[in-house]
Point group: C2
Chain length 182, copies 2
DNA sequence: CCGTTGAGTGTACGATCGTACGCATGTCGA
DNA sequence: TCGACATGCGTACGATCGTACACTCAACGG
């Protein structure tokens, strides 16, 4: 069927370039032209591979959400008991907030989209759901939800604070919220 | 000094229109022209009252941050003891997450800016600092920080979840994190 | 060997953008 | 009353945008 000189990496490179650019300049300043330049593809490729800017952004953030889900999985799949789970969550919070500026910024951009448009909210629901599933292996559902919210808040505040919590403080917060009083 | 027919409301109207527009369409889609149209002022007023888009956005978000600080103050200034404080924080979380979609979206937009640019981070620091000061009247500093982060996470998750926590669950989380074990 | 096909590209168009700047207009000191 | 002057506006300019679309060209069936 005349499958000519096709380049399946093209699409991926464009998506990667899109995320890089959003991380650096913000959604407000991305454009087909800038993305094309950064990805090293001609402008025509943009409309060829993606129906428009919206589709491109949706694909890009889907890719990003997958990445975050992988980070959650990597940290939360292993622990075998409650104490290990608490340690793992502490690691996760510190990994997220001390990790690449890129991920922090992209997370915020995604939340901003999610706050307005349901399509993007589905992406955040997926990773919150996955996170909660992991946590429910060690804590009851209500606790898992509270812990999930705490993870979010700690990560954000650590990222935005000038003097972030140290590890002991993070663990203490996690321990408190996962401790049911008699 | 020939202070001609000046209109001090002009500036405020422009700022208000800017915030409305950002809430509706996102920072990515605001423009001088749209703001001018919404505020009912001529395009020329934009560059007259503000040196450029950056100054306008900074003023707009400063105004917004003041508003959020006021919400925090209104909820957190009154309580007299720890239990009242816990109730007040619960009210605050629900007020923030069930209140206007507008505030939620604007908060996210501001966080997104703050994640990238220190100028905007100062605005978020101010309201986090104020919040912490209030909380420290009833809880030790470490607890106040943890509680502050929890407020953030609960608000965000309540806003983004399809089935938000009910009040009892919110209060339970707040109680846990403010309870120091013997 | 050649016509067909479909992947991929270059370019051009109309819209919209931020911003500068010359001009109208109303106020005030003299 | 009348320049001087600050306030505020209309408009125009160059840049940049998203997107459409005619085109090239390699590969393949016959």
């Amino acid at each position: 069927m005349a499958t000519g000189h096709t380049d399946p990496q093209r699409r991926e490179r464009i998506i990667a370039a899109t995320l890089d650019l959003i991380a650096e300049e913000g959604i407000a300043h991305v454009s087909h032209r800038k993305i094309a330049a950064r990805a090293g593809v001609p402008l025509g490729s943009m409309t060829y591979h993606f129906s428009g800017m919206d589709e491109l952004l949706r694909e890009a953030f889907t890719r990003f959400a997958d990445h975050i889900v992988a980070v959650f999985d990597a940290h939360l799949a292993a622990p075998a008991d409650r104490d290990q789970a608490r340690q793992a969550v502490t690691d996760l919070v510190h990994a997220l907030s001390e990790g690449s500026q890129r991920d922090l910024v992209l997370t915020q951009e995604l939340y901003t989209l999610a706050a307005r448009r349901p399509v993007y909210r589905e992406l955040t629901h997926e990773w919150m759901g996955r996170s909660r599933t992991h946590l429910e292996k060690h804590f009851d559902p209500a606790t898992a939800r509270q812990l999930d919210a705490l993870i979010e808040g700690l990560t954000l505040h650590r990222a935005l604070d000038n003097e972030p919590h140290d590890r002991a403080l993070t663990l203490e917060a996690i321990t408190r919220i996962t401790t049911t009083r008699p």
